[in-house]
């Protein structure tokens, strides 16, 4: 599995190492286990197709996978928005009914996460779950490291406040 070919890790080794991180990132972004599974699968399929072009000198495998996962998530949000616009009445009730547990999180934390926007959840996912450093996370988000740090602080503060509120 972990065979190295031509001085770079094998795709299998990378998939094995980063699968959980990518899945958690997408789960936190979408808050839907089924969607996160589909998007994770999509992400690795796309990564497989562009594996020959991956250059480890330009980005770490995790950052590279994260870029692909992010694009997959954005595509999903776009299509969801289009669908919601088409079926406004249905979507309103559907989003209510599709609320489900992410699993593994405490109740107040899960409720707090649900109140964050996808953008806020994303920065938390990148820095906390994927454990990317500020610079790498900023590159994925297309913002400056300072803006990334600010966005993370705000998101975590908001989470803390919400957890406190829900805990009462």
């Amino acid at each position: 599995m972990g065979v190295r070919t031509g001085g770079r890790p094998s795709f299998a080794a990378i998939a094995e190492e980063h699968l959980d991180a990518v899945y958690r990132y997408l789960l936190l972004m979408t808050r839907d286990r089924a969607v996160a599974e589909d998007l994770t699968s999509d992400t690795f399929e796309k990564a497989f197709r562009s594996w020959r072009r991956f250059d480890p000198r330009r980005a770490s495998p995790r950052t590279w996978l994260c870029h692909i996962a992010r694009n997959a998530a954005l595509d999903h949000f776009r299509s969801e928005e289009r669908r919601r616009r088409r079926e406004t009445s249905y979507a309103a009730s559907a989003s209510e009914s599709e609320e489900q547990s992410l699993g593994g999180l405490s109740e107040p934390l899960e409720a707090a996460v649900a109140e964050l926007s996808a953008g806020e959840r994303e920065v938390v996912a990148l820095r906390v779950l994927l454990e990317l450093d500020g610079r790498a996370a900023a590159r994925v988000l297309g913002i400056s490291p300072t803006a990334c740090s600010t966005r993370l602080s705000r998101a975590l503060q908001k989470l803390e406040e919400k957890v406190r509120d829900h805990g009462r």
């Binding site: 599995m1 299998a12 998939a15 959980d20 594996w51 297309g142």
Partner: protein
């Protein structure tokens, strides 16, 4: 992995979030199956890269050959119509017979055109110069002559200046000196109307014994025509751009068109200056005269050999290529700036849209 740690205040939240479950076994199986396929070795596809490299090398060679042959080809063509002709230095001592001296401007490559014509009793050389009347021609001649003594040197120098003025030319510089041992030298650079070159050669060579000489004639008409054509094209382009500016344009388009117009104006100024220089060169020939009293003086070979000519052609081709590249760069730079601005704008817009989308999701 995290080089910059997350604030300790949020440790509890961080720990809580990291308790999120990993990928389910079914998903893991699917992904690892795909990964196993990805790692099966495939034959390397170097063919395309090789083809691209070979194509680039061939293109570079073709460009180099066409540029080089273009340079010499134009020379050959123009030689027929009064193109570039070079007269090489001939060596003749002061005591050399007049017949020897009569060979002054005969040369290997264009000897038929440069056949000497003896002027009767004067026994002085004159040359049937291949000058085409009505065509712009650049003439550059250098003559090295020996005179008997310092007295003769002074007279010959004064005479050379008189000849120049009588032919409607002017003396650009004179350097006269008799430093030691009764010997002396005089160096003159004179400009003479191209129409009087033939007379000037005859009269200057009568000032002393010829030690060496070099005459180069180059047709400038094609060059001047090409410059005029280019100037016309640039004027038309400038007029079109001005008309475009007078119409309705978006601010970005206006900036781009204005930048292009400025570039075209700059080019037009440069081309007009070049054209004026070409006309000036075509009207006045340059003569470099060296008069000396030294008996041991010998001719210095001033004509470049095959290698020299090849080097000159290569240098000329290189300068043309650089000029062409510079031209392309000047013309394209406003477009490149516009393209960069458009790309930056599109990227910025995409980021904004993504942010809005994520804020709503």
């Amino acid at each position: 992995m995290a080089a910059d740690p997350i604030d300790e205040r949020y440790d509890e939240i961080v720990r809580g979030l990291r308790a999120l479950p990993g990928a389910p076994a079914e998903l893991r199986g699917r992904v690892l199956e795909l990964a196993a396929v990805a790692d099966t070795p495939r034959p390397p596809r170097r063919g395309l890269r090789l083809v691209v490299v070979v194509a680039l090398v061939v293109a570079a060679l073709v460009a180099a050959i066409s540029l080089t042959s273009g340079g010499s080809g134009s020379k050959k063509t123009s030689a027929g119509g009064g193109g570039s002709v070079e007269a090489m230095p001939s060596r003749a001592s002061g005591a050399a017979p007049t017949r020897e001296r009569a060979k002054t401007f005969t040369r290997e490559t264009h000897s038929a055109q440069l056949a000497p014509v003896l002027h009767g009793a004067a026994n002085r050389p004159a040359v049937g110069l291949p000058l085409s009347p009505g065509r712009l021609t650049e003439v550059h001649a250098s003559l090295r002559l020996r005179v008997r003594n310092v007295d003769g040197l002074s007279k010959a120098t004064a005479h050379a200046m008189r000849i120049t003025r009588s032919l409607g030319g002017f003396v650009q510089s004179v350097d006269y000196g008799t430093p030691s041992g009764g010997n002396g030298d005089a160096y003159l650079t004179v400009r003479i109307p191209v129409g009087s070159v033939q007379k000037a050669v005859t009269r200057f060579t009568a000032l002393g014994s010829i030690l060496s000489q070099h005459l180069s004639i180059r047709d400038l008409q094609n060059q001047a025509n090409a410059q005029e054509l280019r100037i016309l094209q640039l004027r038309q382009l400038a007029a079109q751009l001005r008309a475009k500016l007078a119409g309705s344009l978006t601010p970005e388009e206006r900036v781009a068109v204005q930048a292009r117009l400025d570039a075209v104006r700059g080019l037009l100024r440069a081309k007009t200056g070049q054209h004026a220089g070409t006309l000036r060169e075509g009207r006045l020939s340059t003569f470099e005269l060296e008069l000396t009293t030294r008996k041991g003086a010998t001719a210095a070979p001033s004509h470049p050999g095959r290698i020299g000519r090849a080097a000159r052609h290569a240098f000329s081709a290189l300068s043309k290529t650089i000029a062409g590249l510079l031209y392309v760069l000047i013309v394209l730079s406003p477009l490149l700036v516009l393209a960069a601005a458009v790309l930056w704008g599109a990227r910025y817009r995409r980021r904004r849209v993504e942010q809005r989308l994520l804020a709503r999701a």
